[in-house]
Symmetry: C2
């Protein structure tokens, strides 16, 4: 358990500025860099930025943002969360991440996913009917590229490659690769098949319900003969100096975002009591550093995970409060979780 890692995740949500109005996309991107710099200084292990193609999120090209963060930080590792591989080109994704890896002296990680939103499919000319085969084939090609040797590959969703080398090469010889999994057993098994790390997206309900996926991943990983790899989990939350302040800062923005997404997915509007229930027993890590740390420690122990990422930017929260949340997460929450875990060691060694 001593190697447990703590990250922060963002989609570059457009925050609100001092006057309460939304800032520009460009300011939102710079806010993300600023948050990464604060996280780096505060000792956060990793920042993951996610790809979306919607007006409320400023990040459509995670690697470009990570490259900007790379030269402005010293220690923090740099991940996407996620790169929508299905609608991208594995060769381009490899090239961009290898470049981020170079810029950051080897701090890049890739997190591949199919995307929970579907905007990227029509935007880049893909058919939703090919949802499964696109990811299947592209993750297969990406795995080949990770060897950094000449690649010969063919499939139906992308041009074949015959003995092709891709540049730049990395210094370590291999990019650390995660797959973001929303909860399909096939995704879990595919992730284990390639020996990739698994990041569970748990955005609502009790985290414990994901225990079967953690077990499935471990068993599949063993059967494929791979080394034991830590499982990660990411969930939304917010940290402020007090529980009350955290709720006050986050509720409106969180509800606005949840209801907007929910409108297109048939969810009913979120009530305050539902919000409080998620905070108390679900997957919302909100409150004072002590409150958030206790909740994270409980999740880490009950699921025996090796990495926890807080999605710290849910909706149009005030930009200054968001920066403060990142600082509190790094300087208060992480040390507290480590203390709590040291006092009460995990059931299974990770």
């Amino acid at each position: 358990m001593e190697n447990i890692e703590f990250g922060i995740d963002t989609f570059g949500d457009v925050p609100s500025g001092p006057s309460g109005e939304l800032v520009s996309h460009a300011q939102a991107i710079r806010a993300t860099v600023q948050e990464a710099v604060v996280a780096d200084q505060a000792g956060v292990d990793v920042i993951a930025v996610g790809e979306h193609h919607r007006p409320e999120y400023a990040i459509s090209s995670p690697e470009t943002v990570l490259a900007g963060i790379a030269t402005a930080t010293e220690n923090i590792r740099l991940s996407s969360g996620v790169t929508v591989l299905s609608s991208d080109d594995p060769v381009r994704v490899f090239q961009r991440f290898a470049t981020v890896d170079a810029l950051s002296n080897g701090r890049a990680e890739v997190m591949l996913g199919r995307g929970s939103f579907t905007e990227s499919f029509p935007l880049f000319g893909y058919d939703m009917a090919d949802y499964e085969i696109l990811f299947d084939e592209k993750i297969n090609l990406f795995n080949e590229l990770l060897g950094e040797k000449p690649v010969t590959w063919n499939g139906t969703t992308r041009a074949a490659l015959q003995d092709v080398e891709v540049f730049p090469k990395t210094e370590s010889g291999r990019l650390k690769t995660w797959v973001g999994v929303g909860g399909s057993p096939q995704s879990v098994i595919r992730t284990a098949h390639y020996g990739f790390r698994m990041m569970l997206a748990v955005i609502g309900g009790s985290p414990e319900r994901f225990a079967p996926y953690v077990d499935l991943y471990r068993r599949a990983n063993d059967q494929f003969g791979h080394e034991t790899l830590p499982v990660g989990l990411h969930s939304p939350g917010f940290v402020a100096d007090t529980d009350e302040l955290a709720r006050e800062l986050m509720f409106d923005a969180y509800k606005e975002q949840r209801d907007r997404i929910g409108a297109s997915r048939g969810w009913s509007p979120m009530s305050r009591s539902e919000f409080e229930h998620e905070a108390a027993e679900g997957s919302l890590y909100i409150g004072s550093p002590e409150t958030v740390a206790r909740k994270i420690a409980t999740t880490v122990q009950s699921l025996d995970i090796g990495r926890f990422d807080l999605i710290y930017s849910g909706g149009a929260v005030d930009a200054g409060a968001r920066l403060r949340a990142v600082e509190l997460y790094g300087t208060k929450v992480i040390p507290l979780v480590r203390e709590m875990l040291a006092e009460k060691p995990a059931k299974i060694n990770n």
Copy 2:
């Protein structure tokens, strides 16, 4: 002429390290960032980084490198040189440059081209037979995207778009766009048609032979009713403290690179006298700051251009010498050219 701009261009050529051996791709990328930082401090106006997919060049994703430079510099403008639009997706290119623009507080420029090497075509699944239509259609779509309004577009080389908005938006509302032109009149006219800036690639022979292209661009630009735009030119060279040292530092690497490229294009190996001839009367800007400045001033005046970019990294030159060349270019060459031009104003006001 007072607004003339001076830039440096690189493809991220893998330089040699202290022991004379080639450094890694990752080190070459970091060397580029370091050179950009020195250029920024030395007052160079712009750095342009080019896309290649070959082992001797470390940059396959210019925008990712520019993003790393963006957060490490203050004033220098950031361009590609070029982005191979034919084998890329205009939507992705727009998104990545808009992100670099955000990271750099509005310092991004795009330079589009068809690529003088052809590796990217099979790598990304394009047919060389579509060389013309790919660029035609993609530059057309890119121009639509630059409006930053909902786009409706269709063509044969990419999926159609129906009333689609692309994110992030820029703060200025429009990315400054150049087209890299090798010397085809059609390219010149197309560039003027869209009102894009024109950058002439003059890699050998007398620069004056490009005067007809400058005239054609100006006439076409006028006929299309666009504002008068400066024409740029980029050429290879190297700056050191003395003429002799510059030649000594550059010759072997330049010849090795020229002969390697030439072998696939049917050129005969370059002799020392050919090298000297290019330095004396052709398009090689090599020598002491005074020598290089005089040559640049002559070219600027004879062609009445508004921007001159020095391709400062031709082949596996020593990394330390390359950094010094950038410093000399910024601190010595540029001020000398400005002085020379002030003493002898251009024939035509730019």
